[in-house]
């Protein structure tokens, strides 16, 4: 099995999920290569070697500076045509999902997404994918090579093996349509405010709050518990709460001692960001909300009634 792992990087760092996938690839076979595409990224190649890559292909070009998918499809497709890997793996992110699907179309290759495991079974690669809100696990495979896969966030931990990789620069030739989208303003991680990643207790609010003004309920409860406030993607996108507090697939991954979800339905994109929490309590008026499937305690009811009462009870207890 010859595997290529696409490595994502941000502000001079290879991303943890990418390195985790690289480590998994190295466990499945010896012939593991990595691709790093960007501008001024050659320095990242050595790190890829330490985490399991035998060979690192570096596509370094100013045209690859912005984290946009289409130029990366061109680079990956070129490399594939020259080297012929039988498997191409991605740690799933907003960027890599688009790269993987673009590459699947370009190479007419099968893509399986949202995998939480990969195994080799008699020479056949088998992926495991939770489906229907994680109620079933589907074993999936590929009918032809190359086999493309997106691995769910947080699935594999990086393992430092201390290896050294051979580094090769690859030429960058881009399609006309690939360079038409331009980055006008690129996101930078916001550093102001307390980080929810270090919080011991998190109270998170979702769309069920009904409006930004009701975040006060969440803030009061968090204050009483000595915890931090978090939000779902839906309310962050709606402008109710800042992005730095977002938990989930495109936000932070947290694992506090206590996570209280208020008015959060608990879609899979949210779940992957908080399922490692020690104790999960959910308050939601919809008895069918998926969050009740994985909350240690779920309370079906009106958050406007329950949350102020809970805040008061916690205050009394802390004062006693």
């Amino acid at each position: 099995m010859s595997t290529l792992v696409f490595l994502e990087h941000h502000e001079g760092e290879l991303q943890k999920d990418s390195l985790g996938v690289l480590g998994k690839a190295a466990l499945l076979g010896d012939d593991v290569s990595a691709l790093i595409a960007g501008s001024g990224v050659e320095g990242l190649a050595a790190q890829a070697g330490k985490y399991g890559a035998r060979k690192v292909y570096v596509a370094d070009d100013p045209a690859l500076e912005a984290p946009l998918p289409q130029p990366r499809v061109d680079v990956a497709a070129d490399l594939f045509r020259r080297q012929g890997f039988d498997t191409v793996l991605f740690g799933a992110t907003v960027l890599t999902a688009d790269v993987a699907a673009g590459l699947a179309a370009r190479l007419d290759a099968g893509l399986n997404w949202d995998l939480v495991d990969l195994a080799e079974d008699n020479g056949k690669l088998v992926g495991k994918r939770p489906a229907l809100d994680d109620t079933v696990y589907v074993e999936v495979g590929w009918k032809s090579e190359p086999r493309l896969a997106l691995i769910r966030t947080g699935t594999f931990e990086p393992v430092e093996s201390g290896g050294e990789a051979e580094v090769e620069q690859v030429a960058v030739e881009l399609e006309d349509f690939s360079t038409q989208a331009k980055m006008i303003e690129q996101a930078h991680e916001e550093s102001e405010g307390p980080s929810i990643e270090d919080a011991d207790v998190i109270v998170a609010g979702g769309r069920g709050l009904g409006g930004p003004e009701n975040f006060a309920l969440v803030e009061e409860l968090a204050k009483a518990l000595g915890g931090a406030v978090a939000a779902t993607r839906a309310v962050v996108d709606a402008g109710w709460y800042p992005y730095s507090t977002q938990v989930g697939q495109t936000g932070k991954t947290v694992a506090p001692r206590l996570y209280i979800a208020v008015g959060i339905s608990g879609a899979i994109q949210h779940k992957v960001g908080m399922q490692g929490s020690n104790v999960i309590v959910a308050i939601n008026k919809d008895p069918n909300a998926p969050i009740f499937e994985y909350a240690d305690l779920g309370v079906v009811g009106d958050l406007h009634e329950i949350v102020p009462k809970l805040t008061e009870l916690v205050r009394q207890r802390k004062a006693a």
């Binding site: 907003v94 179309a105 007419d108 997404w113 088998v126 331009k182 962050v236 499937e293």
Partner: protein, 257 residues
């Protein structure tokens, strides 16, 4: 401006995978994928009062999908093109994106819109495959979209915050479900929907070769359906006025307070 919205029809509820075919059971009630309603709404918003603008739904699915797609017509979309063919059943990303791209070739829309994900397959990548096949620029995960003078500007959410990306038309855009609040169809809209053009085309009409569609054209397969690993015990209570007290009791029991 001509806007094509790629929409999928999905089972309304009671979702299950058929153990025989290993495909999603689509025998029950079908609805417009809720995430696609955001794309329809955004198309209608961009169309505004421009009488020359057109919003066309493009979908791939069985003939009876037309019933669910009519919701988009009731919201205000102008017409539907449904690619419907027995031979397309079981198409994966590669096969579906090929058929969709061929249908979109016929339309030559200035803008192709997608919703954030399909809520049956949890797929959230179709747009990138279609954009590559159409050889058009792509912006995905868009939470805010504007168009002026033939240029799109989209605000995209990633793991690191918000990017602002511009692209010239024609282009492909996938919108997030936070971009808007889809309208409810009016009674007049519902009454008028049936009279709007609803065209069904076969793979042959689109020039899609048999070996590029359905299972023959697919490159992935499903081996087995299993159960997820057991999760810890969960308990659920209905709030009868003592919900807050019960949470406190539970937290004390779990030493989480």
């Amino acid at each position: 401006m001509k806007i094509a919205v790629c929409a999928k029809v999905v089972p309304e509820q009671a979702r299950r995978i058929d153990p025989q075919t290993k495909r999603l059971d689509r025998s029950g009630e079908q609805v417009l994928n809720p995430f696609d309603a955001n794309a329809v709404e955004e198309a209608l918003r961009l169309k505004g009062n421009d009488a020359d603008a057109e919003v066309v739904l493009v979908s791939l699915g069985p003939e009876r999908s037309l019933d669910a797609l009519r919701k988009a017509l009731a919201m205000g979309a102008d017409r539907v093109v449904l690619v419907s063919d027995e031979a397309a059943a079981g198409s994966d990303l590669v096969a579906s994106s090929y058929a969709l791209a061929r249908a979109l070739d016929r339309e030559q829309a200035d803008l192709v819109l997608f919703g954030q994900q399909a809520n049956d397959s949890d797929g959230a990548v179709m747009w990138a495959a279609v954009a590559d096949r159409l050889r058009r620029p792509l912006i995905s995960q868009v939470a805010e979209l504007t168009v002026s003078d033939g240029t799109l500007r989209g605000k995209r959410q990633t793991e690191f915050g918000y990017d602002v990306i511009e692209a010239p038309l024609p282009a492909v855009v996938a919108v997030s479900d936070a971009i808007n609040e889809p309208r409810y169809p009016s009674l007049k809209g519902i009454m008028g929907a049936k009279k709007k053009p609803q065209e069904t085309v076969s793979l042959g009409d689109l020039g899609v070769e048999a070996d590029r569609a359905g299972e023959a054209g697919s490159r992935t397969e499903v081996y087995a359906i299993g159960h997820p690993p057991p999760r810890g015990e969960t308990q659920r209570i209905d709030d009868d006025g003592s919900g807050a007290e019960k949470i406190v009791e539970f937290l004390l029991e779990r030493k989480a307070l």
